[in-house]
């Protein structure tokens, strides 16, 4: 069953299309990573899913309903982001008990346990928290709410690396115990890819790919070696990335399926065949100009 269905969704801010004709579906109880560079449209997409924004065109369905201004949708969705605001008259521990009645699956012990574990003083108001502690606290709400759809928008920003690791562990543990649909946005894929099942890669408002992480590893392949030899193999094929790393030597990345049949021949020609880390693949796929930073220096 699909929890989220997006059909040709576009969302514009004036002339800028933050989300451009996006279509995808997310299955129930999957842990999906929304990956993209800064400004790729991640937050806009998440706000559309959470019902904060309306699409300019296209159809969004969350739990088979339009999420915008939808009370039922809101009761099944938790949207964790860094703009969450709580009244100053509440301390953190107050917030935990006051928010609890809204969410049917709320796990109060878990919330208090996590607050205690991350040693955040429960007797202070939310607005007094540092950026890292605020992210941690908001993430605790996200985990404890156990909403059928839980959305985290860059949850770890400001957290130190120890807390990040603990957060991912806590999230995964609770997900195993209580499976639900989770979307996690991040621009740091290598940090999250381990716990993800699917990846949705967004590039300037357009879907780059939507794949299980396990297939992403095999998605692309790199060839390295003599430029002329490489040219012979990749002639007419679409390249994801290419770089001239030394004079006469080329490094190219392309979809595995394009070169798979000739792979043996490629190896025999003395070219290095390299697997591509997910992190690098995402960088290549979302690069603004093929050729990377070197290209800028070569031109100037």
């Amino acid at each position: 069953m699909s929890v989220i269905q997006c059909q040709n969704v576009t969302r514009s801010y004036g002339k800028l299309k933050a989300i451009d004709n996006l279509s995808f579906a997310i299955e129930e109880n999957k842990l999906t990573g929304l990956i993209g560079r800064n400004g790729a449209g991640k937050t806009t997409l998440l706000k559309l899913l959470a019902g904060y924004l309306k699409p300019t065109s296209g159809e969004i369905e969350v739990f088979s309903q339009k999420p915008f201004n939808n009370l039922e949708g809101s009761s099944k969705t938790m949207f964790v982001n860094d703009t969450m605001t709580f009244p100053d008259s509440f301390t953190l521990i107050d917030i935990l008990s006051e928010v609890a009645p809204f969410y049917a699956n709320w796990n109060s012990n878990l919330a208090k346990g996590l607050l205690d574990y991350f040693s955040i003083n429960p007797k202070q108001p939310h607005s007094k928290l540092s950026k890292g502690s605020k992210s941690t606290f908001n993430s605790i709400l996200g985990i404890a709410s156990r909403c059928p759809l839980t959305i985290f928008d860059e949850p770890t920003s400001g957290m130190d690396s120890a807390v990040r690791k603990d957060f991912y562990k806590a999230l995964l543990k609770d997900y195993l115990e209580y499976p639900r649909s989770i979307i996690l946005s991040s621009h740091l894929i290598n940090e999250v890819e381990g716990i993800l099942e699917d990846i949705l890669l967004l590039n300037q408002g357009v879907k780059s790919l939507h794949l299980p992480v396990l297939e992403l590893k095999k998605f692309a392949i790199g060839l390295r070696g003599n430029a002329q030899v490489i040219q012979r193999f990749v002639e007419g094929k679409e390249l994801i990335y290419q770089e001239e790393f030394a004079k006469g030597y080329l490094y190219v990345v392309l979809r595995s399926e394009l070169i798979q049949p000739e792979l043996k021949l490629v190896r025999q020609s003395g070219l290095d065949v390299l697997s591509i880390s997910t992190d690098d693949l995402c960088i290549y796929l979302t690069a603004k100009s093929r050729g990377g930073i070197d290209y800028v220096f070569k031109r100037s």
Binding site: Y52, L53, N69, N70, T85, F90, E98, F102
Partner: protein
């Protein structure tokens, strides 16, 4: 459908409770304002003295109307305040829709109105006690000095109705200005403009609410007006996106 309506009411009520706890400081603020108003009015609202050479008469008039006036201004601003971004933002981490947000705001304004009316009436009683203690009793003209319990309750009920009416007006103005900040300038301009041009009409409208002697009829008038004001406010918001 029944389930959905029950959900709406149940989540609106939860939000109302949440807001009541969150905004309790606003209610304390009112009490502070009332005490300030009390100190102002202890000096007397008007002073009159005359003398014919042999006899000199000096009359001080005391009234709690300043306290009530301050409370009216307070509830008006609370009505506006609840529609501001700052106050609407706290709904976001909760289960909410624009309608449930409005309903919980309305609930809060009603409780605030009841609270405001009760406290301002009690402050009026407090004022009388202070006067009674601080003056020689023979100097007090007992015109409406002692109030019966019935009058006290009646005063609270009428005060509440007025405050709800004013809060609904504030809430509507707040909701309109949320559509566009331009209304911050336009609304006062329109109000003052109309006041000058259609002074008679406004006076008549005002009389509808101020010169109604029968309580049930007055209550009905207020109720209908309030429903219209809150209704229009609610209709203005459902298409607003969340701006953060």
């Amino acid at each position: 459908m029944f389930l959905k309506e029950a959900d709406l009411l149940s989540f609106s009520f939860k939000q109302f409770v949440y807001k009541l706890k969150a905004h309790s400081n606003l209610l304390y603020g009112l009490m502070l304002i009332q005490i300030i108003a009390l100190f102002f009015s202890i000096g007397g609202v008007s002073h009159m003295s005359s003398s014919n050479g042999e006899l000199s008469v000096s009359v001080n008039t005391y009234s709690a109307s300043l306290v009530i006036g301050f409370s009216f201004i307070w509830i008006f601003f609370i009505g506006i305040l609840l529609t501001t971004k700052q106050y609407k933002k706290i709904e976001l981490p909760l289960v909410t829709s624009s309608l449930s947000g409005n309903l919980s705001d309305i609930g809060f304004l009603m409780i605030a109105s009841i609270f405001g009316s009760i406290t301002s009436t009690l402050v009026g009683v407090l004022q009388r006690i202070i006067l009674y203690i601080s003056f020689d009793q023979t100097q007090i003209i007992f015109d409406k000095f002692l109030i019966s319990f019935y009058d006290l309750v009646l005063g609270i009920v009428i005060g509440t109705l007025y405050m709800i009416l004013i809060s609904a007006l504030g809430y509507l103005i707040g909701s309109i200005t949320k559509l566009s900040m331009a209304f911050v300038l336009i609304i006062p301009a329109i109000i003052f403009g109309f006041l000058r041009v259609y002074t008679d009409f406004f006076q008549k409208v005002l009389l509808v609410y101020t010169k109604e002697a029968a309580l049930p009829l007055f209550a009905l008038k207020v109720l209908i007006t309030v429903i219209i004001l809150f209704g229009v406010s609610s209709l203005l918001s459902p298409n607003k996106e969340v701006s953060q």
